[in-house]
């Protein structure tokens, strides 16, 4: 496939790897922010192609993993209501809330449907006018405009049965939290290429100024990631500190103005809880009150009810405890790697997950389980 295969060429990748070996003189700790980049690194065993001096820290870029438990509980509650169809991206279905997960709710008879695109949510709403269709809209800035367009489409079509349960997170504040955490000691950043496709990368300049950490906007193919690492290591070795753009074929400095306008129109920014991490100021998007008719939280009065009480009864109040063994928060912040966790691959597996990063296939723990676990045992 064009614009994919060229960046997976083995000779090219070997050449970039050799260059990295050639320039890396000191030890460096760099973070790839996006879960998709982590996935590529592990799937293609890119660490085999890097000198040991370079430590890759995996960032919190898994929107499914960081969706707060309360949102899962709200989705579970809504899916159990009469005449509701809950539609969701696939990986959200397996993530446990306080009592249960959406896949189990589906097994119990709730009408929960998986979708690949918000376009399907609108289609389902049009085809089921007697039902309330609630779209569990999660994601980072990459997915936010597409999710937002579903509200714009619903308004255009005058759909009275479409709602979004909105749980979006935004990257810059999260990166600031990580950079301010001395225990991670991140020295360089591979910025998320598709978030930057939407948002551009101007908003990262203040972070660079404050923390003096160089950054490279990086794509997702093995060739992209290795070039991104090469450019970053070169900066670190030379002592420069700027934002470079490795992913120029897709990313412009000011992003996509249509997408940014839609985000500004539909959402408001605010504080957001990241599962496993806690509250991060100014790191979330909620639906603008102008569009409150589509906001599931308002339409279903979620602010006025005790969700856990409502669904707890159904599940005999058997809480799925966030295990004390689970170090999801440390993994998401790059403080620890999944293989550092004593529960990894022993009592924490995709079948018996203790935390969200093991459930979601985008999560670092699940990726390690799939690609790395058997290297160690």
């Amino acid at each position: 496939m064009k614009y994919l295969d060229e960046y997976r060429d083995s000779a090219t990748i070997k050449a970039i790897s050799d260059k990295i070996f050639g320039i890396a003189a000191k030890d460096w700790k760099i973070m790839e922010v996006c879960g998709g980049q982590t996935h590529t690194i592990l799937k293609y065993s890119l660490e085999e192609l890097l000198p040991q001096k370079i430590t890759l820290i995996h960032g919190p870029g898994c929107p499914v993993c960081v969706t707060p438990v309360e949102m899962l509980d709200k989705a579970v509650y809504l899916s159990g209501l009469k005449d509701v169809i809950l539609v969701s991206y696939g990986d959200m279905l397996r993530v446990p809330g306080t009592f249960t997960d959406l896949l189990s709710c589906k097994a119990n008879g709730s009408d929960i449907r998986m979708l690949y695109s918000p376009l399907q949510a609108i289609k389902i709403a049009k085809e089921n006018k007697n039902k309330k269709v609630i779209f569990f809209g999660v994601g980072f800035e990459t997915t936010a405009p597409a999710n937002a367009l579903s509200i714009i489409m619903a308004k255009k079509e005058n759909l009275k049965n479409f709602y979004m349960l909105c749980s979006h997170v935004t990257i810059p504040s999260a990166i600031e939290l990580l950079l301010s955490n001395k225990s991670t000691a991140i020295q360089g950043l591979l910025l998320p290429g598709h978030v930057c496709t939407v948002m551009g990368y101007e908003e990262y300049y203040p972070l660079l100024e404050k923390y003096k950490v160089p950054a490279v906007v990086t794509g997702f193919e093995p060739g992209d990631i290795l070039s991104g690492i090469y450019l970053l290591i070169k900066q670190l070795e030379e002592g420069t500190c700027k934002i470079e753009n490795q992913y120029k074929r897709t990313v412009h400095k000011d992003g996509n103005r249509h997408a940014k306008a839609i985000i500004d129109e539909i959402y408001v920014r605010g504080d957001q809880i990241w599962r496993g991490i806690g509250n991060i100021n100014n790191s979330g998007l909620k639906i603008n009150e102008k569009y409150s008719e589509f906001d599931a939280e308002i339409a279903f009065g979620l602010g006025e009810i005790n969700i856990n009480e409502k669904i707890g009864l159904k599940y005999n109040n058997k809480i799925l405890d966030e295990s004390t063994l689970c170090i999801a928060g440390e993994v998401l912040q790059g403080i620890s790697k999944p293989i550092d966790c004593p529960a990894f691959a022993s009592c924490c597996t995709p079948e018996y997950p203790l935390g969200a990063p093991m459930v979601s296939s985008e999560g670092a723990c699940a990726a390690y389980y799939m690609y790395v676990k058997k290297k160690y045992c």
């Binding site: 614009y3 050449a15 598709h194 996509n256 839609i262």
Partner: protein, 76 residues
Amino acid sequence: MCLAIPGKIISKEEKDNILMAKVSFGGAIREVCMDLVPEANIGNYVIVHVGYALNIIDEDEAEKTLEIFDELLSYS
């Protein structure tokens, strides 16, 4: 956080007030919403995430990236 794949626009049309395109991914054709990149034309490559085009792929920049790769190869 973002699985997005490049594909080639093979046709465009407005459907129910939404700008849509048929995009080919190695021969597999999906309907993609073009509301975020209305200026894209047939023959352009776009980067697509959850059924929406996020941006036009800049073919010149893509060429330049590959030229850099070729340079690296010739030095290795």
